[in-house]
Symmetry: D2
Subunit: 327 residues, 4 copies
């Protein structure tokens, strides 16, 4: 059996809101949130978004990490929830805003080091545009590129990752697809720049997540972190893993193993109407189950089927994988 390395964004076990409803559930203290993660046996780590609140509470985060024994899988800088970045962060044409994003990023990198974490994540959700004739596509993208280079050089031992997403909160994001993210890696030309692949974002962009992972391997071994959740393909619904799709997760897990991915899978959900902790626990159970289908499979047989380019053979294989009848 493959080892499970599951993490969760710590706020996922709390409550969330949408653009209509400001609070679907109650709020939780940091201690409660860590305890709630700890209560899920399949999880061994947390991901931290260093939002303004959290930045003022670094010591408390470290204490809770120590207290619970949870690892920190990755640390993200918040350039999406703080309204100061509403028109862009690393790609902002306002040099003050851009510098603030850089400063926050460096602070998050430093914090990551302080908790023994080697993955730093940016999700440039505000770097993009909403309307036509609203952005200088070349200048802003160039600024973003320079920012990534600077961050890579700031901490060469840290994996600096970009999480791509085709839209939301802007109607169009600059780092939109796996191709665009890898192109940015090529342009920046630093070895420690990588990809944080959000499964739901890949699905939203009509990518096959397994293929996206394989392409990251192919072009520079750039896959450094994974966020995981499920959706109906047309929006980033951030649902419980496996609640919509089944076989695509199995193929994803297979290609992760085939390409030697060693990192965490971090649960990243918006359980608006559910208890956050229970929704996360459900996803972990699903992941474990879906991984077990690959555990039970014959990797060589899968490789043989793939070579055939044959839909009938692939279909039979998928049915067998589900039924656990292989090997």
């Amino acid at each position: 059996m493959n080892q499970r390395k599951y993490s969760v964004f710590i706020d996922n076990v709390a409550s969330c809101n949408d653009r209509y409803c400001g609070a679907y559930g109650r709020s939780y203290t940091m201690e409660e949130k860590f305890d709630r993660v700890k209560s899920i046996p399949l999880l061994s780590a947390v991901d931290i978004v260093l939002s303004p609140d959290f930045m003022n509470d670094k010591e408390r985060i470290r204490e809770n990490v120590q207290r619970t024994g949870l690892k920190v899988a990755a640390v993200a800088v918040d350039t999406f929830a703080d309204p100061v970045f509403q028109k862009g962060s690393f790609a902002s044409t306002d040099s003050g805003i851009r510098e603030l994003a850089m400063q926050r990023a460096r602070e998050a990198i430093d914090f990551a080091k302080s908790v023994g974490c080697s993955i730093f994540t940016t999700w440039p959700g505000q770097d993009g545009y909403d309307y036509l004739f609203q952005a200088d596509y070349i200048k802003e993208r160039t600024l973003f590129q320079e920012a990534m280079a600077e961050l890579c050089d700031y901490s060469p031992d840290m994996s600096i990752t970009m999480e791509y997403k085709i839209k939301e909160p802007r109607t169009h994001s600059y780092i939109s697809t796996v191709g665009m993210a890898l192109l940015m890696c090529e342009a920046v030309g630093r070895d420690n720049l990588g990809i944080a692949l959000d499964y739901g974002h890949a699905a939203l962009g009509y990518e096959t997540p397994a293929e996206s992972a394989a392409i990251c391997k192919m072009y520079g071994d750039r896959l450094k972190h994974i966020h995981i959740n499920d959706n109906y393909r047309l929006w980033d619904d951030d649902m419980i893993v496996g609640s919509v799709h089944t076989l695509e997760f199995v193929e994803f897990i297979y290609w992760l193993r085939r390409t030697g991915y060693q990192g965490y899978m971090t649960l990243d959900q918006f359980p608006y109407r559910e208890d956050g902790r229970d929704a996360v626990a459900e996803s972990a159970e699903w992941l474990d189950y879906l991984e077990s289908l690959v555990d039970n499979a014959d990797m060589d047989e899968i490789a043989e089927v793939i070579k055939k380019n044959d839909a009938i053979a692939a279909s039979r294989l998928m049915r067998k994988l589900l039924q656990g009848r292989i090997a």
Copy 2:
């Protein structure tokens, strides 16, 4: 020139938030909001969502209506932002919740009457489901149907309208498309049940808004209210009118006139990064411009082209409409 009857959801001139960022802009008092609407010459009315806040402020709303001379185009009950309705309102299987929704609806209807407004709107955004195996599709839809009948009977002189939308905030809504909304009208069997057509919701559901309006006319003359905004067709982006699409609005306006629609068009936007008042003013300017294209057109010539079922003739007509060369 056709008379313009434009309204706006009063909170549209204030600030908004999304699921990541709790406040893109500052908050405004009710007086400020009314003043901001009043400052836009093309607007003559407001739409009010009777949220819990507003419910405790009815007198103040009435005073502001009187003070500004703005009409109230429609009053909506809030069954989507109050978290008590997070798992449903009129379709809730929890009879207490359902009764609370009914009570709030009756209160909103009464308030509408008190400000001389004859359009009551429900947007059953929480009536639906997120996951498979999560809902009794028949029972909940039946409950919804009964609720609409009760509301129609409560106030036979009021237009009780349903605003359809295919998804969000639930991943699936019960009153999803124009067909489903009209089917509900047929099933309820009350003359005062109608449709509030949100242009963006129609576009999101891959409807042609002009066709949706025409179908409402055909099946019981059910179109009683219109919300208007623009989007990229894959999400309810709630953008400035005319900023993405152009010709579809022109066709929509044409069919509204052809079918004798006499109501308001209510601006319904989420200008996250813009000044709300200015974004609304922009939409009003766009609407006025798009209407002027129809003002300048020869209605008989349009009708003749439509009869031909000929893409080439339609294409020529559209170019002429844009260029204002007709007549």
Copy 3:
């Protein structure tokens, strides 16, 4: 175990083409096609589209039906492949074209009777429009409505069904969604008018197929026939059943049983690059497997979960259904 009633469009076991490639595979004689269907043990029937070719070969079809012992599950009139109907059939404003469609439909109904089949299917794929300003939405829809009434009256013992689809071959179809199809049923007002639900079309229209089936039950018990296949939700890919989605099929099968559907499930695929017979056999194997998951489940337990409106309980149930651990 529930009885399997699977049929297939007879041309599905042959070859197909797309808009680029005129022939992906070789052609087959009618005898070969019947033999290929017969060779798949899980199939007991065929569906026939009475295309111009087939119309001239009715006797041969009947002979093959008799020879193979296959039933005829449904007969469809071809109003989509014959270019004479390229701008519409039942909704055509050209009375000659419309009459031709009616004549072909009556001929198909008569043929259905002659082979002991009680389901007649229309797929009005050409009844719609491509461009704005290209159609009189009310007039054409009215013509369509009258045509359905006439067909229902022509043969009151026959189920006259409409297969809805949101688009293709037109960019917009009139009978677009389950709501629109049921609204048409209400408007026509005949008991023998019903729905042929194509699973892939429902998915393409962002419907949950189980819900669509339930709604058909609720509004007049209108579900009379089912076409089945899989897709990626954004196009009618017509793929092998179960190759993309898994749980949605399980929920669909559950609701079919709960609502007492007794008809056939007809495989309806476009296996461009596969051997048609083998692709159909695969789908039948998948369906049988997916049905077995429901066979093994406790129907009362499912009903209890559904009542809860609880995503966590639903998620657990789905995992259990997949694992066959229920009962």
Copy 4:
């Protein structure tokens, strides 16, 4: 006024078919097709797909080119309509098939040279997959990459272009998005490899075509050819230019000028139900009109608005552009 350089795929002025209907219109001789193109004053060139039929008719093509005085804007190899390539061409794991694709490509390049054309186009529509577990994503992509390098080296003076598209005819294409196409350019590392940007493909992939053009400029000045048409964003509808979108074309034209694009815009449509020649003429008229809106605009004013990152300013600009009120 900017010079118009419009071409058309020569078969666009003939008839087309879809997967249901084998022939919507009549067929045309090569002479007729050239004459039909020639009859449209705004067109000065043709694009040729060197399908098997055309390969046997090279001399006749050359004669018609000479006779009509039309230029050849680009020559494409057919690796999508010939069923031999149904499971892949340049990425095929079958070395015989791959070599056949290379041979046909070299032949098309040679032909291009013989008619004074410097743009060679590949549209690898069959290089991709339909099902999960059906493809070795890394190996096939590597083969494709090697093929492009070989073609670039075969003819260093020729622009070897790749036309990206997210899907169809396969459910997933390898060269899917502008990011993926540019990443391929980086990986291949040849100066004469470039992009053929199909406007509708960009729109289908939720790209803003103007941004896609700008990105091509930014990363190696790779934009070498353009195909143009319109669609509803969810499928490659291949409609008349400007019949759905308006402002996006204006922004596209603006950015083409800003980035110094000097090539042709080639009309690429599927006018199923229209006279092909008339549909092409309509598109040319639309393009000319949309270009005239940019002709009349103040380029500096547009650049100033873009710098502002301001939706309100962008919206005002767009309305002014449409109204021709600038300058």
